[in-house]
């Protein structure tokens, strides 16, 4: 059934267009360990190093780590966008990734036109595209805004549209970056309900976020990325206890306890 295996994945970013040498030097002096050279001795940033894990149906993996620790790069590599420099990726199951709010959307086209574009991308027959459109219209609650160019949307509206499009036909694996948090409270409830129903159908979720509360609530496994490596891999509260400063962790535990008591 649905599974995803990452085996020793490493990703090196070539530094081709880094004309600004002084900037490069500043970065180099700060975190020299991640700047290396590849086989042809070209300068690279080692964005990911030896990432291995396996996910099965029902796993909801959270990715946490400082800015630039490789969360988004890992999501892109898992989506099959970046061919890894080393290692391999294998999966069974239909994957949808939500990496950029505006990804795969043409900002000048209307919401409705973008939905049809998405339908063509999925290779859907016409009646299915109509169903997709109806579903997105219903879920995103964008009403007449769907007939305006996406350029005119607020960022929250773009998120609604992107999320609705990505989950209209429940994917078996859903990869999300943290921008999903740009939705308002009522939308977040809806989004969570949809993801929960998705996970109830024994599917896989991977979520990168800085919000400990969201990760603790949505995930049942956490990977802490540090400088492109896995620093810790385990149950959310265990990893968060080490990741967060003590006072923040206490607050998180308190915050999570309140709804349980009520």
């Amino acid at each position: 059934m649905t599974h995803l295996t990452a085996f020793n994945i490493s990703v090196d970013f070539p530094l081709y267009h880094s004309e600004n040498r002084s900037l490069k030097k500043t970065i180099l002096s700060k975190s020299a360990s991640r700047f290396g050279r590849d086989r042809n001795s070209r300068p690279v940033v080692q964005a990911l190093r030896d990432i291995s894990f396996t996910l099965r149906s029902g796993d909801r993996l959270g990715l946490i780590g400082a800015n630039g620790s490789g969360k988004t790069t890992l999501l892109r590599a898992l989506s099959g966008i970046y061919q890894p420099t080393n290692g391999s990726l294998s999966m069974e199951g239909r994957l949808t990734s939500l990496l950029d709010p505006g990804q795969g959307m043409n900002m000048d086209l209307t919401g409705r036109e973008n939905i049809r574009l998405r339908g063509y991308f999925l290779g859907l027959p016409r009646p299915e595209i109509d169903r997709l459109e109806a579903d997105v219209e219903d879920f995103s609650e964008l009403a007449q805004f769907l007939d305006l160019p996406v350029r005119n949307y607020s960022s929250g509206m773009v998120v609604r549209l992107a999320f609705a499009m990505a989950t209209a036909f429940p994917p078996e694996m859903l990869l999300m970056d943290e921008w999903i948090l740009a939705g308002d409270a009522s939308f977040m409830e809806k989004a969570k309900a949809r993801i929960e129903s998705m996970v109830r159908h024994a599917d896989v979720l991977i979520l990168a976020s800085h919000s400990a509360a969201i990760l603790a609530e949505w995930c049942n496994r956490l990977i802490w990325l540090d400088q492109g490596r896995i620093r810790q891999d385990g149950a959310p509260m265990v990893v968060l206890e080490d990741y967060l400063p003590p006072y923040q962790f206490e607050e998180l535990v308190k915050g999570l306890d309140i709804p349980k008591l009520a």
Binding site: Y16, G87, S88, L99, D100, N106, Y120
Partner: protein, 293 residues
């Protein structure tokens, strides 16, 4: 109930394609396999390329009164002024020269934008490329579709000139159709290669544009090829000019000129060279394009 069974069918079709593996570069066999899969998947998504290309044109002219027919109009104005001016300058009859320059300019513009847009096909689609896994060939096809839509608008000018000049059109003109098919395939292949190459080396699009400018003047587009027949050295400009052969396989049948077999053969040789370069170039670079854009 009917609805349920339908969605099951859709899910099944998804499931058949749901297995996916990707490993680090393992040499040429894997590269060609990935490139072939990319071409196959891209062709399967032709409706996506078509819609993207069409919306490029629609958006460019959204809100303008004439819309894409500005293309037709601006080409018509350019050809009318050039046709009259240059027929005086070259001392040739406007009646012969105008159809020649019309066909030449329309198809040269098509060829020119196919190449320059091909250079930018991946650079322009950077947000799509970094946002989702999508066959890279979709972007090359999008560029070909976009420029072919532009050509369709400019063909009106050719038809107009032929009608106004009351030129005879024979069935021989239909030979332009297979020639254009060859162009489409060549442009698709060339976009895959040039698009990747230009994503890596950002100076190349500028170099290509500058070179095409030169090609425009050294290729018989505004002037007749027979002008150079008496100059053995200048004749090399034509004999070793791949653009001349590619242009002539479309131009000759439309102008009712006989198409020599050697021109067709040379156009085919040029195409084979393009395929070979594109196949190796695309297979080699495919996995790196996402890093480059």
């Amino acid at each position: 109930m009917a609805e349920l069974s339908q969605s099951d069918a859709v899910l099944r079709t998804f499931r058949t394609q749901s297995h996916f593996t990707l490993s680090a570069d393992r040499g040429w066999i894997q590269r060609f396999q990935l490139a072939l899969t990319d071409v196959r998947d891209g062709i399967r998504l032709w409706r996506l390329s078509w819609t993207l290309g069409l919306s490029d044109i629609k958006l460019r002219y959204r809100g303008s009164a004439l819309g894409p027919f500005w293309l037709t109009l601006s080409t018509a104005i350019m050809i009318a002024s050039m046709g009259i001016l240059y027929s005086y300058l070259f001392h040739v009859k406007t009646h012969d020269y105008l159809p020649y320059i019309t066909v030449s300019i329309v198809f040269w513009n098509y060829l020119n934008t196919l190449i320059t847009d091909g250079c930018n096909c991946f650079i322009q689609a950077d947000s799509l490329i970094r946002g989702t896994r999508m066959p890279f060939t979709v972007h090359a096809l999008r560029s070909v579709v976009r420029n072919t839509i532009v050509l369709a608008h400019n063909l009106i000018v050719i038809v107009g000139v032929f009608l106004i000049m009351r030129l005879p059109v024979s069935w021989e003109a239909l030979w332009a159709v297979p020639a254009l098919m060859l162009w489409l395939v060549d442009a698709y292949a060339l976009s895959l290669f040039l698009g990747a190459f230009c994503a890596r080396f950002r100076d190349v699009p500028q170099i290509v544009m500058a070179l095409l400018q030169v090609v425009f003047f050294i290729t018989p587009i505004m002037w007749y090829a027979k002008v150079l027949e008496s100059h053995p050295k200048a004749d090399l400009l034509i004999r070793f000019n791949p653009f001349y052969y590619m242009l002539d396989i479309v131009r000759a049948p439309l102008l009712g000129r006989p198409m020599p077999v050697d021109v067709v053969l040379k156009a085919l040789i040029v195409s084979i060279v393009i395929f070979a370069i594109a196949a190796f170039g695309f297979a080699r670079t495919r996995g790196r394009i996402a890093y480059w854009v």
